[in-house]
Symmetry: C2
Subunit: 421 residues, 2 copies
């Protein structure tokens, strides 16, 4: 099976100033065409280390993908390391990339400077795939007669993602014998990993030898079960996996909320689109996170009307129409205020469903009644308004995320029930 | 200088199902006590590969931090690999961790199962630091007489972050001769990396030999300049870095919007807090992202009153009071509608400042007048309302992020000017 390694270059990764999201995106892409990632490694901007690490990775893998270490102010080290690694005797100017650099700078109203021009200069041992999204070219080094290939891609995530299809295309052309890896995901919620493991133990034990099960717990999306087959026959594998998943569904029932798709906002959006219903939100402690999540879905304007983030009490009263007496009697963080917020936003937007949150994300010691980490969620529809309380023990950022996830799960529960999907 | 390596274990990383955020958090923490990360590596759940990779990392580093590979359903492989690597002859039950497991399960209303109990079982070659945030213990392996240490931490980010202070504490105790690494960040905006490099070229050339400058461009936060000194004398270094930064400020002026802090919402929040001014937002295409960003700041309720996300046109008219004639005459994506939205939300919330967005995040071909990627931003205050248009060429998610960042930068510009901070 074709094996690959992903190497990210950059001091900024090693000192933790940026999170490497490229490796995961590249791994997913390569996985989709049956390439197994054996190894991911991050190293600094040091010539000798780049050369020795890449030499080592090339020994153990068919394909090595390098990202980062390029850019107008840092080209020198990485390019020289790649030149030395591949026995280059000089540089050449790549005309296609130079033209793109011209174009990009012109579109931004910038002049071409020497540092920009030099980005199109590459070791003579490489082929160039032009980078349409940025100024640093994609360099392809075919390693002697080994059939191995090293790809050097720019490290800016937007450019890396933009360059990936072209790199995949090149890999497919040069590695025709790629094997398939097939994954199926099953999303569960409301059950702990260990309880889930016990519940499906006999199903798991009876899985065919070539199927692998992984438990991927995530507090925001529940425990994801991933069933994988490496190699094998595509059509037959799909059927066999489907059989296993059908059995699993019989065991887990409603605990499964989606297959493949792990994003709640997508699952909710699909039901709303299919049933022609609309949605709005009223947020206090989640501060816009629910609205933000809902609107990341392309086409969400078909069912999502809008929201009010009522951070200050007067906004709750004036905009959402929460009665001041309700706030005074029950407190801002209460079932009653959550319900009034959800009803208020449903009224002013005219939506079929609405969801609201009021709580304490922290840091701070609570409001006397409720500890930090408390949230009241309400879901309102023509059939009535329901509320639920959750309590988490995380930091502010994490609490906000979990508040939003809990609200969306509660919303999904109500929407599923009331639309009978 | 004390060198460290970070190893993450888990098939889910290699197939790209999760983004590894732990490595970056650990690197920042270790960096803060003067430990240099030489290497980060991710490997799968395979016994032999875990053993050989960790053996290799221990050869080249003083400290090896392992995360992941633990959990009720996957303990076996990693723990056995650690046992074999360190010559363990058996397992022992750790009473402190077992008590925590009991507590955590009880607080969630769950029974203790065999898989839970086994999490407290550890190779007899390790010391245990109890993991207060989760069920998997932190295992500390002192490697013979080498003075080297391997730490195995749980991989769930919330638990990893929770365990970090205890691990740092242990490292400090066992590596008393730690050297300092000092970083200073300077945040710039509105200038491209290459233009910036040219502008500060002579300043950069004149930097002392032990100071290193890195350019870290980010479309959302501008180009970050990072000045570093490895080793050296703390007090003297601080003074010398400050001198260089003062010179840099003379060259760059207003292009610098912050030092250290790279999050716009924090910079904005600090000015608002200092001046006692309040803020609200009206979002269309950004769908809640601006409000979400503003409320991630602890204490933001002191100045942030709330927002309206008016995704549907009737919400713009009814809630924000945008005149239907304005929408009809200029279109939803226009300077006039952006201004009316900002003025509307300032009126209903009573805030000093407000910011609004109306645009096209895509995917889709634009509205006939404006291409996809267009956003109009308005900032309103007692002194008047100003608007600006931006155009980006990214996918939906990225467009939304850049819309929000542009709106916050425009807001910062106006707030800085009008509060004269």
């Amino acid at each position: 099976m074709t094996a690959a390694s992903i190497c990210t270059i950059g001091d900024e990764i090693l000192i933790g100033q940026i999170v490497d999201t490229n490796s995961s995106a590249i791994a997913r892409s390569l996985g989709s065409i049956g390439i197994k990632i054996n190894h991911m490694v991050s190293i600094g901007d040091q010539h000798d280390e780049i050369v020795s690490t890449l030499r080592n990775e090339l020994e153990n893998n068919d394909i090595v993908i390098v990202t980062g270490g390029l850019g107008p102010t840092r080209d020198d080290i990485t390019k020289q390391a790649l030149a030395d690694l591949t026995g280059s005797t000089g540089y050449r100017m790549d005309a296609a990339q130079l033209a793109i650099i011209h174009e990009i700078l012109a579109s931004r109203g910038l002049d071409m400077m020497e540092v920009n021009r030099l980005q199109a200069s590459v070791p003579d041992t490489c082929e160039v795939i032009p980078n349409k999204k940025g100024t640093a070219p994609i360099m392809v080094f075919r390693i002697g007669t080994s059939g191995k290939t090293l790809y050097s891609m720019p490290g800016v995530p937007f450019e890396t993602l933009g360059a990936l299809p072209d790199v995949l295309e090149d890999i497919r052309r040069h590695h025709p014998a790629l094997q398939d890896i097939r994954h199926r995901n099953i999303m569960t919620f409301g059950i702990a990993e260990s309880a889930l493991a016990e519940k499906i133990a006999s199903w798991e034990d009876a899985l065919p030898e070539d199927m692998h099960l992984a438990y991927l717990p995530n507090p925001l999306t529940g425990v994801k079960l991933r069933l994988s087959i490496y190699g094998g026959n595509a059509q037959d594998d799909d059927r066999r996996m489907q059989e296993q998943i059908s059995r699993l569904k019989d065991i887990l029932g409603d605990t499964i909320y989606a297959e493949q798709e792990d994003r709640l906002e997508h699952v909710i959006g699909e039901i709303l689109k299919a049933t022609g219903k609309t949605l709005s939100a009223a947020e206090s402690c989640t501060g816009g996170e629910i609205s933000h999540l809902l609107t990341t879905v392309p086409g969400s304007s078909a069912y999502y009307l809008g929201s009010v983030t009522s951070y200050a009490v007067p906004v709750k009263e004036k905009v959402l129409g929460v009665p001041p007496e309700t706030i005074e009697k029950y407190g801002v963080v209460s079932s009653e205020v959550a319900a009034a917020m959800a009803e208020g936003v449903r009224k002013i937007t005219g939506s079929d469903f609405s969801v609201s949150t009021t709580g304490l994300a922290g840091p701070g010691g609570g409001d006397g009644t409720n500890p930090e980490g408390t949230v009241w969620v309400a879901v309102s529809s023509a059939l009535g308004t329901q509320t639920k309380k959750f309590l988490f023990h995380n930091d502010r950022k994490r609490n906000i995320e979990r508040f939003a996830a809990s609200a969306l799960f509660f919303l999904l529960e109500v929407i599923r029930r009331e639309t009978a999907v």
